[in-house]
């Protein structure tokens, strides 16, 4: 199967100038500016196949938006190869962008002061969408995204959730094969997030649209994406199935115990006490070091237990731990090809 996005040895390096300070420094800056080279994207490789829905995550400043900008043609790589839908994005931008859609959650492409319907009509002309197709798509999105209630409302008066639905519709009207979604659920409440996710799932499953989703909300990824790529320090440190990631790195579990009496120091081998309040104690342990049943057995040998509970670490915390401790980065940064 040939890929819709092909990225090979992609590098983007920025010059970050640091200026001399003070008045004299300001003059020196004119002649002699020092700079650091920052590798925002550092030798990344991946392929995305038609119909995939891929989550692209990573901490702030990891290189996510730099990658997206190169994929959409807004940024020219320092070196390496990008082919999207057969195009080299930055070379053939004007033709290329006809075939893609993009939603940036932080901003809108809609005309702020006019009713939503006006913006959608303009898009029909800009993308030269034939009338029957436009009508068919609009009718479908009106229904699924429930746009009718605010079709004639100025965009500026829409709630964030409504505006995001409108922006999704705007990005999909011309039947793009590939859609870039950048933080499509940012700032939304739980219900609104869920609707957006359902819609994303719908266009991917029912219409076969390829989607690259960048997000900070791991729940988006957990709900939608089979495949996830993690970028950190400009390198792809993980590319594979989400549950594989969680099995490998998310091994932390918690054992909450309520003792029948108060023990001053209820220590347990292979487990750390992370919280202790009277007779309530929470232990943390790693799945691959010790089993829960073994710990419970050990506990009941030495102490009297009233109640207990075992929990897995939430996905969010696992990912945060990966970011914070740079687990994957340290693990992979000597290897030529990151984990796949």
């Amino acid at each position: 199967m040939s890929s819709i996005i092909h990225v090979q040895d992609l590098v983007k390096t920025f010059k970050i100038y640091h200026d001399h300070k003070g008045y004299l420094g300001a003059i020196r800056n004119l002649f002699d500016r020092k700079y650091d080279l920052v590798h925002a994207v550092d030798q990344i490789n991946f392929d995305i196949h038609p119909g995939e829905l891929v989550g692209y995550i990573g901490p702030n400043g990891a290189g996510k938006s730099t990658t997206i900008k190169m994929l959409t043609g807004l940024l020219v790589p320092t070196s390496g190869e990008v082919r999207v839908n057969g195009y080299i994005p930055w070379k053939e931008r004007k033709t290329y962008v006809k075939h893609i859609g993009a939603v940036f959650g932080q901003r809108t492409t809609l005309w702020w002061d006019l009713p939503l319907s006006d913006s959608l009509t303009l898009l029909q002309h800009i993308y030269e969408i034939p009338d029957p197709l436009y009508k068919k798509n609009l009718a479908m999105f009106r229904e699924i995204l429930e746009l009718d209630a605010f079709m004639n409302t100025p965009v500026r008066s829409l709630s964030l959730g409504q505006r995001m639905r409108a922006d999704l519709c705007a990005a999909m009207l011309h039947d793009p094969k590939l859609v870039f979604l950048d933080e499509p659920t940012i700032g939304l409440d739980v219900v609104a997030k869920e609707r957006i996710r359902e819609f994303i799932q719908f266009i991917n499953r029912e219409r076969g649209t390829t989607i690259l989703l960048t997000t900070h909300d791991i729940a988006d990824v957990a709900k939608l994406c089979e495949r996830v790529m993690i970028i950190d320090h400009g390198k792809i440190v993980f590319d594979g199935k989400l549950d594989h990631l969680l099995r490998t790195y998310g091994g932390r579990r918690f054992l909450s115990v309520q003792f029948a009496e108060i023990y001053p120091e209820p220590v347990l081998e292979n487990a750390d006490i992370i919280k202790m309040e009277g007779n309530n104690v929470v232990y943390s342990f790693m799945r691959d070091t010790v089993s829960a049943s073994h710990l419970i057995h050990k506990l009941s040998e030495s102490y009297r237990i009233a109640d207990l509970e075992v929990n897995d670490q939430p996905i969010e915390d696992t990912i945060r731990e990966i970011y914070e401790k740079q687990l994957l980065y340290n693990h992979n940064h000597d290897k030529k090809n990151p984990a796949s």
Partner: protein
């Protein structure tokens, strides 16, 4: 309908929704129009004409320039700059539409809306209070409308170029103030060019600023006709061609810089 016309239309409609801004703009332009007319009447008290410009011509001049301020928007336009600074430019570049044409469409819609809501009413009110000169023939009206359209294209070409500075510097507002100061001074908005010293008047007349503001007025008042009229329109066309070419050169460099160094 093609994408350009659709852009003009949506921008026109947007301009019409700004009721309060349009009305207060109209009131301000009208007030300054009356003020300028009073000053001119005081200046002309003893003389029938200055440098060949009659009082009636000078008052018409004042009324027309006041009516064209909003339409040409020659002295204050930072719309494109703002989209560069808030990142909207990224979305605009992701549309399958020529960036220059897109903005020309946006500006043409704005100008058309402003002309209908602010320009025409202002001049009508002005004509009620003062004795103004009007074009005498259909041909002259036609020539005026054509030169008014050219004027917008020159004004846009200049403003687009000034706004492109934002592709290079994080604060191009200062550059804009300076550049729009230039267009204000040399356009003849401030004072009829006929009242300038000859060399300065000639310079202004040949500059894109004079070509944008001064020429349509000359056509309206009837100071140019025949060969002179053709020459004036050719001066305007020449500036349009020069500015459009410059705009494209600068735009291409700006986009290249943007896509190489990031937003």
């Amino acid at each position: 309908m093609n994408a350009f016309l659709a852009t003009v239309r949506i921008s026109f409609r947007r301009q019409l929704t700004y009721r309060a801004a349009n009305l207060s703009g109209l009131a301000t332009n009208l007030m300054f129009g009356f003020f300028r007319a009073s000053v001119l009447i005081a200046l002309y008290r003893e003389q029938p004409s200055v440098n060949g410009l009659t009082l009636q011509g000078a008052i018409t001049y004042a009324g027309l320039t006041q009516a064209m301020i909003g339409y040409l928007s020659f002295f204050h336009w930072y719309e494109l700059m703002h989209t560069v600074y808030d990142g909207q430019v990224g979305s605009d570049l992701l549309k399958p539409l020529d960036y220059f044409l897109y903005w020309l469409g946006v500006d043409a819609g704005r100008a058309l809306g402003t002309l209908l809501i602010r320009g025409v009413p202002l001049f009508l009110v002005f004509a009620l209070f003062y004795d103004v000169v009007l074009p005498l023939s259909l041909l002259q009206w036609g020539a005026f409308l054509l030169s008014l359209l050219f004027a917008l294209l020159i004004s846009f070409g200049w403003r687009f170029m000034v706004n492109l500075a934002s592709f290079w510097t994080p604060n191009a507002i200062g550059i804009g103030r300076f550049a729009f100061g230039l267009s204000w001074t040399f356009s003849g908005f401030f004072f009829p060019l006929a009242l300038f010293p000859d060399w300065l008047a000639e310079f202004s007349r040949l500059s894109p600023f004079g070509a944008s503001v001064y020429i349509p007025i000359q056509v309206f008042i009837g100071n140019v006709s025949g060969i002179e009229l053709t020459k004036s329109l050719i001066i305007q066309l020449t500036w349009i061609v020069i500015l459009v070419i410059l705009d494209h050169i600068i735009l291409n460099r700006g986009v290249r810089k943007l896509v190489i160094q990031g937003g």
